[in-house]
Symmetry: C2
Subunit: 492 residues, 2 copies
């Protein structure tokens, strides 16, 4: 069949690229590095958004919207942040096109419409937001300020891949302001926990919570909390980050408040975000050589019904039973689609729904109707059962829950099998090469060693795990003393 | 009180600007012409989005996402569209900043990071979308394609006003593709009707449906349907447009399909959009000199409860009754906020909730507790009643429905009183000057006359109303024959 995917074993990277396109999730656009998110892909993103938004609001955050553009003078105000993003930002320099006198029918930039100050298309919004917060915060009564924004951002990446790394991507960015360091630290941790809960309960992806080393931190942060996931090819993927920004932005933009005791103090800040990159993590954690596998909590259609018929008459005979099934499923909150297209045969429909990862498929034909049964097929295990129509909706409900937890457990088993403790650099390299996954190793805490390991192996420190126990040892590369293990991996 | 607004009579324009800022809806940003939408304003926009999105999906549309940038060569492909937007578009020319050797600590555009082809920040997405549709449409089986996008767009307007006209704004843009002209025309009309229904049922704004004259059409459209609303100062506001694009974009981007009969044909198109401009319409239709008046269907908080107390003990005594009221209201789907801030007196709270347009306010104090009553105040009429706690939630439910329809009726009465039929140009000018509103007049159908009237009076043809009856007459300016009346007005 023409829709066959390259297998993961043959070429994991090619498998991913093909799957994203063939399952109708996204495609490359005419704009270098920018993607088009297709309706089916966007429907999954909308489900992620809805749940995250609910979780943000439940933890006291409100949405707002800040400008797309950052004037250069604001962009450069927080030095480290500017340095981190200056090399890959899209810059607006003009505000008009005009007819090109040399090329009839073509346009060119109007040289007289040059902006006095260049505008950077936001790669992240700390600068524009903290410049705004300056006007919003005077007193401790104005704090905490707990705001989130759903937006597009642009980072001019040189090598791009659909969802994983694109020049423009969609994300949410929370930006909060606090009266004390302690409160801001707690907020940054809280939001990292929200991300972990979302990844585990909705995406069925086990994640490791931890902090980044100084070299891997967000530009402008004093501490970066993160959740790290493991893909099926043994590479890690950073699925979300939450930053404690200290008073760096408050100082850069002079944002002070009058404390309870009447003193003027700089405000403490956090920012945190997840993006359409999560789509990449979702795809690479669960999918197989037949296509996408979606956890029921994020599937646009949890169930699809495919009728098996030879004549219009046979289809009509199936209709009342199908209607009844649909009605019952919807009444208990299950999304279901009836695929009655007459331009495609059942086998082709089965393949398409497998490719698109619909968790459960019901097939119903004349014989089933006579027997009062349907055929029910699971996408994740590809197993089938013939079961009575009677009680079908309850069976489906519990099966969807089962699939959700099975997917998580399977991913967790795989992940746990791919965390390897090593104590010497030969084993480090061998494990990385032959098995991949996370390598738990002692590190001497210096950026020099971290860089050297990266240079030698392409592995980076994904995080200093939150639940790591104190353990004395010696650095896997330098042999210098270490206070605990950190997790290395090759990463997306 | 410092929060007092300029009255509408004194200076309508100033009243609007103050209200938007003081009610915490939006403010100007550091970026010329771009606004910050504050949490309270954004919460109203989110309610609009949720309902519109539901209506779009109910009519068969799916969401997707297309790139922010349009390469210049695509932008210029549809000539009229390009001409319409070229004069006011933000252009990205570079993809990197570097340290400025002449200004330590400052950045400048890296001259070596000039893009080969300039990128236009989308002012609207027909070009990038039709370039994409080319790859999606081969056969009549791929049609209709019914897609919507929620996005930000940029139009470099010279004179901007919060919500009404901003360089960047948020909107949705539907882009559909059809096999026949008739189907595309019906789609464009359907979506204009969806907008009208939304405006009337949710925003409580009566609108006139019609079509635009050729000069007022969207650049690249063969027909533009619109809904026109009337503000309290007698000026019209275009609240939504839906365009029949003919085959213009299909031809510009060479999008053809194989018809049922095996012929290659160009696809027919529509596009339609509403934006954060609706916020301006909402504010200017209902609000008064005390502040915002919100229709209950769009109010983030439909009810606010303000406790009246002198001591912490008194507040605690009120708590069980308040909790009970909140629980009952929420159980029937009413949003309610308990304003127990101890930093503000009840009078100040009343004023703030009036300023922010909360439809109903409950005040409850020790005496009310003893009597088993509360004071219930309507924002729209500023009327109060003391009523029993018993049965309160049902009373509130019916009152919210009453307010929703009262607001619509009041706006409709005002609008109907401000549609004046005139038959000579002196009356035209006099009515426009003294009364404002829509002027229903005969027009000879020429762009010359339309331009001349605009030049002489600043009034434009808002629309050729859908329900206008055929009526022969003579043009109010030229005296030439006319087949029917059109609606003129000064407009936002």
């Amino acid at each position: 069949m023409s829709k066959n995917l390259t297998s993961r074993e043959e070429d994991y990277s090619k498998w991913y690229n093909e799957l994203v396109v063939k399952a109708d999730l996204a495609e490359n656009s005419a704009v270098r590095g920018c993607m088009v998110i297709k309706p089916y892909g966007y429907a999954i993103w909308e489900k992620m958004q809805a749940e995250l938004d609910r979780m943000f609001k439940e933890t006291g955050h409100q949405n707002a919207y800040f400008p797309l553009f950052v004037p250069k003078s604001l962009f450069e105000a927080e030095e480290k942040n500017a340095e981190g993003f200056a090399k890959e930002c899209a810059v607006v320099t003009h505000y008009r096109l005009q007819n090109d006198p040399d090329n009839p029918g073509k346009l060119r930039v109007d040289p007289e419409a040059k902006l006095e100050e260049e505008l950077v298309v936001r790669p992240t919004s700390e600068a524009i937001i903290w410049n705004t917060y300056k006007g919003w915060i005077q007193s401790y009564r104005d704090l905490p300020l707990l705001i989130n924004q759903w937006a597009n951002v642009v980072r001019w990446e040189m090598r791009t891949r659909l969802f994983l790394r694109t020049a423009e991507f969609l994300w949410q960015e929370g930006h909060t302001a606090h009266a004390t360091k302690d409160e801001a630290l707690k907020e940054a941790q809280l939001m990292n926990n929200v991300y972990a809960t979302f990844a585990q309960n909705f995406m069925a992806i086990p994640v490791i919570k931890g902090t980044k080393t100084e070299s891997e931190r967000f530009a402008g942060a004093d501490e970066t909390y993160c959740i790290e996931a493991l893909m099926q090819d043994g590479k890690a993927l950073q699925a979300g980050t939450s930053h404690f920004l200290g008073q760096n932005f408050a100082k850069a933009f002079d944002v002070k408040f009058t404390s309870n005791e009447g003193k003027q103090e700089h405000v403490w800040a956090t920012s945190w975000g997840v993006s359409t990159r999560l789509m990449g993590a979702l795809i690479m954690t669960h999918s197989d050589d037949k296509g996408l596998v979606l956890p029921p909590n994020l599937a646009p259609n949890q169930v699809v019904i495919v009728p098996i018929y030879k004549s219009q008459e046979q289809l009509e005979e199936l209709q009342p039973t199908v209607d009844e099934i649909i009605k019952e499923l919807r009444s208990i909150g299950i999304t279901v689609k009836f695929d009655d297209r007459d331009t495609m045969r059942p086998g082709a429909k089965f393949a398409q729904h497998e490719l698109q990862g619909v968790p459960l498929r019901i097939a119903i034909g004349a014989r089933d109707l006579a027997n009062g049964t349907v055929e029910l097929a699971r996408r994740d295990t590809l197993s089938k059962e013939t079961i009575p129509v009677n009680g079908l909706s309850q069976r489906i409900k519990s099966l969807l829950e089962q699939i959700q937890s099975d997917l998580f457990n399977k991913a967790e088993v795989y992940r746990n099998e791919h965390v390897t403790a090593v104590d010497d650099f030969e084993s480090f390299k061998k494990t990385l090469e032959e098995k991949g996954g996370f390598i738990s190793a002692h590190w001497d805490g210096t950026a020099e060693t971290e860089d050297k390991i990266k240079e030698l192996t392409k592995a980076t420190i994904r995080c200093i795990p939150e639940d790591q126990k104190q353990e004395s040892g010696v650095c896997v590369l330098s042999g210098n003393p270490s206070q605990g293990r950190v997790l290395f991996a090759k990463a997306y």
